[in-house]
Amino acid sequence: MTQQRKAVALISGGLDSMLATKVVLDLGIHVEGINFYTGFCVEGHTHAIRNKHQARPKRNNALWVAEQLGIKLHIIEVIEEYKNVVLNPKHGYGQHMNPCLDCKGFMVRKAHEWITENGFDFIVTGEVMGQRPMSQRRDTMPVVARESGANDLLLRPLCAKHLAPTRPEREGWIDREKLLDFHGRSRKPQIALAAKYGLNDYAQPAGGCCFLTNEQYSHKLTDLFAARGKRDYELDDIMLLKVGRHLRPRPNFKVIVGREEGENNYLEGYRHQFTHLRTVSHSGPLALVDGDASDADLELAAQIVARYSQGREANQVSVSITRVGETARIVEVVPFAQDAVPQEWHV
């Protein structure tokens, strides 16, 4: 009896990994999905914090893809290990703080460890040669295979015909002729294949699946490192960079102002860790202060918070300031005029 071969597919929640998995499933391979959570992932619920995105489906696209394909999905937290990828990428960064080549190598390496531990035979990714400027080029795709340690156990079904045969192909576990020859940045072949499979409700995030490809986010991360005087972060740091309006009026502190109810509710959860401000005389946002702020700094922060409250036109706004472990004190401040908040304060 032929041995049932098993593969693990890296599932991002996007179309390419979905199609690559479907191709391999159709060749009779048992496939399970794996998804690595780095803390920088762009997933529905980070956006769902903001009310204006509530019309979007609140789903994790990787889970949704797995369910559509009828496969299991293992979501693995790699936050600590991933720090080294972000902070010390051997192959450098892309346009922003995105270490795409190191990232892909890291994820394939983790997948390789997983198949070794779980008795699976090979790894599947949705990579397409020429699709991405850093990690999916003819010259970098072998780097991922080599540096991850997966070598010829890494199968890219969507562009396999442009690559040397992998072990699953050589050993006859799968038929190479049934694999594809996609190439380049055009999405047409993927869209056509999706239509052939009857898939039409898939995610196609414009900026990829990672916040590190986002210019504004990368800028906030760089600012965080500069303000702290060290290149390091905790999960809360990188989560908070996704939420609110960030203003740094002085090098020693930053104000994070909720932009709407959903963000205010999320920031509420951090009140016990941060000095926080809220307008009292008028409805307004919740704001956190990150850094070591003096009383004078906090009055400045209060003026900023007042600026984003319903009292922005008032002569005076009452703002409560609560330092960690202390009782709130109320200050009366004149809100900043709309054009009086220097642009360079916005991170």
Binding site: T46, A48, R59, N60, L63, W64, A66, E67, E77, G269
Partner: protein, 78 residues
């Protein structure tokens, strides 16, 4: 059969799913787990994860800001 509770408050998805996945590894078929979370996304994600892994949602309710999802652990895959 035993009943357990997992505090996943303030965690954004997929962290509640990851914590539930990890917790359930130590449970047996028929055990139940209350996952207490605050991210509304968990109301979709935890049931989706349960469906693909063969676990059952017994109840989902909201108590003030908490979302409490009760899972019955399914049989282990062979």
């Amino acid at each position: 059969m035993s009943h357990h509770e997992l505090n996943a408050r303030r965690l954004l998805c997929p962290m509640p799913v990851i914590r539930a996945q990890k917790f359930i590894e130590s449970l047996s078929a028929g055990d139940t787990l209350d996952v207490v979370c605050t991210d509304p996304g968990a109301k979709n994600d935890i049931p989706a994860w349960c469906r693909i892994h063969g676990h059952r949602i017994l109840e989902m309710k909201t108590v003030e800001r908490d979302i409490i999802i009760t899972i019955e652990v399914g049989p282990r895959a062979p």
